[in-house]
């Protein structure tokens, strides 16, 4: 990199292949990185509000974004994720890149009216995404 720094500024920039800092930036800071997104819905939108009494609103959240080629501790991804990247790039492009998916969930309490008119309070596992990962 010393050479690039010492280039006189008034000269045209080096072609991209030689601009290492730009090249490495795509590893460190993906433009649309994998992250958690809110998605608030109400059961009336699904026409389920005649039997789901609570919660009034439900935010299941979802994961979306790019996974960097060199995933590391930042996403808590297993080593296999890196191997899958290598298979996609070097061996078989039909093998997809790792995806941005939920890694952790939290439960949801639901109050429902049963078909026989009884009322049930239940707690369901894994109903709200709380963390994303690349794998």
């Amino acid at each position: 990199g010393q050479e690039t720094i010492s280039l006189p500024l008034n000269k045209p920039r080096a072609p991209a292949s030689l601009n290492l800092s730009e090249y490495f930036k795509q590893f460190l800071f993906p433009q649309h990185e994998c992250e958690l997104h809110d998605f608030r819905l109400s059961f009336s939108q699904l026409k389920w509000d005649n039997w789901i009494v609570a919660p009034p609103r439900y935010n299941p959240r979802y994961c979306k974004g790019d996974c960097p080629r060199a995933v590391g501790h930042r996403y808590g991804s297993p080593v296999h994720t890196m191997v899958q990247n290598i298979i996609h790039e070097k061996l078989d492009s039909s093998v997809p890149r790792p995806s941005c998916v939920p890694a952790k969930y939290s439960p949801l309490s639901v109050l429902t009216i049963e078909p026989d008119g009884s009322i049930a309070y239940k707690e369901y596992e894994d109903m709200i995404a709380t963390k994303c990962t690349c794998r």
Binding site: S109, I113, P115
Partner: protein, 294 residues
């Protein structure tokens, strides 16, 4: 080939889009419910689709359960950590048959005996009963004398085998209740866990019982209570509240995994043979002894 694989998916997709109702996404594409294909959660959701007629619950019962929900879950619907960790399901049943047998007597405070029939079809085999309560709710808050002493007589009957044979009392229990009711009470609970445990555990689909109260003022505590008439509206038939632990994989067992992470040794409950944790990851995690931080 790529093209051949693509077609059926598009066709299925087209079929899905043509059915505007989102809940149809939960139905298997070929419409048949292969056993085990729909997990209990999706079956509940699928059963809940708008088309099937639904009996409306008692408004007082719904009001009670909404308060319970607020006590147990945050605004976002996440279970609170300060609720009792043992159960993850609470079901409230209203009686589907109420016959009054003997008239009550206001002067002595005896309440007409009420015949109750609870239909427990919705309790599934994986829901273990932990506690059952008879819940009396009052449509408007009533003012009791500060201290009331009641004797409750509860008779559990055999389900009706034929309309001609009289109900045979399976067992009859009498227990004393003594409680003090503050002003503006709108409900109180009578714990009947030990009475109903064997019935629910044996997967009985309906429970038939008759309940009556005889309440008297507790002279010693509140001498001034004599001059006020003792008006009781207990003849409102109680609901049945069951606190259950759902051991299925879909149910939340938060305390279970926490419990195991912190103390891998078996808990007293498990020594008693209560299976409160699903045989799943949670318990497997408990096998590894945590490494202590040096």
């Amino acid at each position: 080939s790529q093209a051949s694989r693509g077609e059926p998916q598009i066709a299925a997709g087209a079929e899905l889009e043509s059915e505007a109702e989102p809940w149809s996404l939960l139905r298997p594409l070929d419409g048949r419910d292969r056993s085990g294909f729909l997990s209990p959660l999706f079956k509940v959701l699928y059963d809940g689709q708008g088309g099937t007629p639904r009996l409306q619950p008692d408004s007082r019962a719904l009001h009670y359960m909404k308060r319970l929900y607020k006590a147990y879950a945050t605004k976002e619907g996440i279970p609170k950590s300060n609720r009792s960790p043992l159960y993850n399901t609470v079901r409230l049943f209203t009686s589907c048959a109420q016959h009054k047998q003997a008239p009550g007597d206001q002067a002595t405070g005896s309440v007409p005996s009420v015949d109750l029939l609870f239909n427990l079809d919705r309790v599934t085999a994986v829901e273990n009963l932990l506690k059952s309560v008879l819940l009396y709710t009052f449509s408007n808050s009533i003012s009791f004398p500060s201290a009331v002493k009641c004797v409750c007589n509860l008779v559990i009957k055999e389900p009706e085998s034929s309309s001609r044979t009289p109900h045979r009392a399976l067992s009859s229990f009498t227990f004393n209740l003594q409680f003090e009711l503050k002003k503006k009470y709108t409900w109180f609970e009578v714990d009947v866990t030990t009475l109903l445990q064997p019935l629910v555990a044996s997967n009985k689909k309906s429970i038939h019982m008759s309940v009556n109260f005889t309440c008297t003022r507790d002279q010693g505590q509140d001498p001034s209570a004599q001059d006020r008439p003792f008006n009781v509206t207990l003849q409102v038939p109680p609901s049945l509240l069951l606190y259950l632990n759902d051991t299925s994989a879909q149910a939340y067992h938060g305390w279970c995994s926490l419990h195991y992470k912190r103390r891998p040794s078996r808990s007293a409950d498990q020594n008693r043979g209560l299976s409160v944790c699903p045989q799943g990851e949670g318990s497997a995690e408990g096998v590894r002894s945590p490494r202590h931080r040096r």
